[in-house]
Structure formats: structure tokens, C-alpha cells
Symmetry: C2
Subunit: 212 residues, 2 copies
Amino acid sequence: MSEISRNGSGGGGQPGRIGIGLELDDIHMKILEVLRENGRISVAALAERVGISRANAYTRFEALRADGAIKRFTAEIDHVRAGLGITALIFVTVRQQMWKQFRAELARMPEVEYCAITTGQHDAMIQVRVADVAAVHTMVTDRLANIPAVKATETVFILDEVLKRPYVLPSDRDRAHRAARRPTQETQGDVPLGKMRFVGAAEGRNALRKDD
Amino acid sequence: MSEISRNGSGGGGQPGRIGIGLELDDIHMKILEVLRENGRISVAALAERVGISRANAYTRFEALRADGAIKRFTAEIDHVRAGLGITALIFVTVRQQMWKQFRAELARMPEVEYCAITTGQHDAMIQVRVADVAAVHTMVTDRLANIPAVKATETVFILDEVLKRPYVLPSDRDRAHRAARRPTQETQGDVPLGKMRFVGAAEGRNALRKDD
DNA sequence: GTTGAAATTAGTACGAA
DNA sequence: TTCGTACTAATTTCAAC
């Protein structure tokens, strides 16, 4: 069903290889657009919104699911209401060749909502949601610091989440480019390059990614 | 729609103030747990899984939705399949008193999936999904650099997303603590504090949050 | 890929515990 | 509040086109 669904994205994907799977056409994209905004819409209503028949909608819906283009449906929960008012980012420097262990420990930490391996100064960024600031401290000092794979951490707090979109799609960009391009910006070629900076991968990063 | 209110909670909330709204009991939490893993489950099936009647499930479901504890239902889409194979984090230093403008510009950038205001060296972190690395460069140099509010940026690439949980809940922590606590870690008080570092808010950060 | 019917299931209303 | 049931509306499935 979805052997090809394990590339660069979620959980244990094979980084670097992209399976072709489904060829997604405009209607597929439109379906994804609708579903990402309303994950509980009925397939019948979905069919109407994208302008296809019910049967077609069911076929495509199942295909997207089976192919892995739709990974899952989920409810976005207000973490503050749920009792987790504090969000923090912890940037982690991982000791070489211990990446596998780091991952295993991560799985044991339910307060971790997100973890990504990054280029730059640090090796990974994890996002945690906890009840109070004390819990962040506990988390970092008691849990993370005890992992041998963790060489160093740097913690910042999230003061506000300005925006969170339910997965970006290429169609968003197309739509926005048509609507929001302003001539002054389009023609303006003289960009103050001096004020930005790209940060490359740290030493041995590629090696790190292979040992899991 | 994708704007999140200032205290991190639901859409129309009073910024800074957290309404008490619903008192969430164990059953509410269990409902959230199920819904976060399967956002398309029928209310009937939900009722059975949490062990309440259908009528009760409908009542609670609606209450959670109305209260804002459930913000929305969404489909998680494989961005690689959707044609956005590159994910990057851009750390932005924002000029004081120009936060409002920065937010407005953000809304015009569909490739931005997430933006949070943080403590630490930078003021904000944005996560973007684009088709290729060139698009990141374009995004940073053409779009971000042209915003007067942006003083400086620092970009890192995400090589792999190790884990992404559909919103953390307090119940996860409880469950994990029961299952995964190992005596060696619980009693181990001597933590190598030297290897971690907390980063406080940059100058004038609090002022920044007020001017929007 | 579409339409239209049957079977199933979802959502609502209301009385009783 | 919660449950159970009956009722109504909608969805999904399956057929033929």
C-alpha cells in the first residue's frame, strides 16, 4: 500500500530518496487544501467543494491516504487549555555516533512535540510543551542532560506563536504570488545582503545522520 | 484563520487573559487524546472508545469545540509529496517597534508554516517549506530582507524531522512517567549543569510584544 | 469519471434514571 | 449530568451508465 511513503518526511523515513507514488494533479491539491483546513469534512461535501463527483472524491481520498500524501488526520488542541502553558525550544548539540541513542531517548519524552535535525550551530531542535517554567528546567537538567548523546543544550522560550498553518502547500504560493506581488518589490534588485547569514552544517553532521 | 492569539490559545480569545471556560476532566482529556490521533473518527466510535454514551460524546465534543480546547481539525500532509521538499528555519531579529509590520508581512508569505516569538539571541523563528534550496535563498534575500522590520536573519536547514506529535497533552506525561521512570535517573541528582545554557530575552523584547 | 438508488451510519431530540 | 431510545437527515456504498 504505502511502501514508498517513507521519504524525507516523518518518523523513520529514508532521507534523501523520494518515491514517485501518486502523480498529484490540481484536483488532488485542491483536496489537500480543503482537508487541511477541515479535516472532518465529509467526502460528499469535499467532492462538491472541489467540483468532482462523490465516487471520484472517494477514490482520490483513498489514494491520497494510501499513498501517504495524507499522513493522518488530527485535532489541533489548545495546549494552554489542556494545561501546558509553556512552550520552549531546546537546541541540542549531539555527540557524534550517538544519534541513535538520542532518538531513542526522545521517544521516551512525551513533552516533546517536535524534533528536527538541523544544519548550523546546533544539531537538533526540539520543541517541548510543559505546564510551567520549572518543568522546562527539570526537563533540560534531569532528562536531557543525563543523555550521554547530548553534549550541550541551549533553551529559549516561546513567548507567542504568531502563526501556525496546517501544512503549507505549493498552491498557497501560487495563489499568493498572483495576489500579493507588488511592483516595487518585484523590480527591487538591490537587497541588503549584509544583514543576513546562512549557517552551514556543523562538523560531522552528515556522519551523524547515517548511524540510525 | 491561521493567526493564533497572543497567549497561544484559540482564535477569539482575550489576549493575555486565559478564560476558564470548561473544566476539563479525565474524559475530556481522553477525548482529546483520541481525536488528536484520529481526527476523523465518528462521534459514535469516539463514545465507545472513551466509554461514554453517544449523547454524552456529542455534548462533550461540541463543548470542547465551542470552548476552543479543540482549535480545528486538519489533515497532516506530506510536504515532500506535495512538492515542498525543503524545510528551513529562519531566525529573525526584528527592529523594535516594527513588530506589527513584521506580522503583516508574514501573513503575505504562504511558505511560512510556523512563526514564534522567542527569547534568546533572536526575536522570532519562522519555519518555511519550499520546493528547493534556491527558494529559501529567494525567500530570505528578496522577501525577508526587504522588510524594514527585519534587522537580521540566520537560516538553518532541516535535514530530517525526527518526530512530530499531534499536540502534546498532560496525560502523555503522566502515562510516560508511570512507564518509563528508571531508578538510576530518578535518584541521580548530580547533573552536569555545565553543559547546558538558558538564554534570556534580548533587549527590549517585552516592548516588542506590546506594539501590535 | 459520473449519476442515482439502497444500505448504513451519523446527528438530533427527548424522556427517564 | 448522563444514558437510552426513537426519529430524521446525511453519508457511504454499489450499481449501471
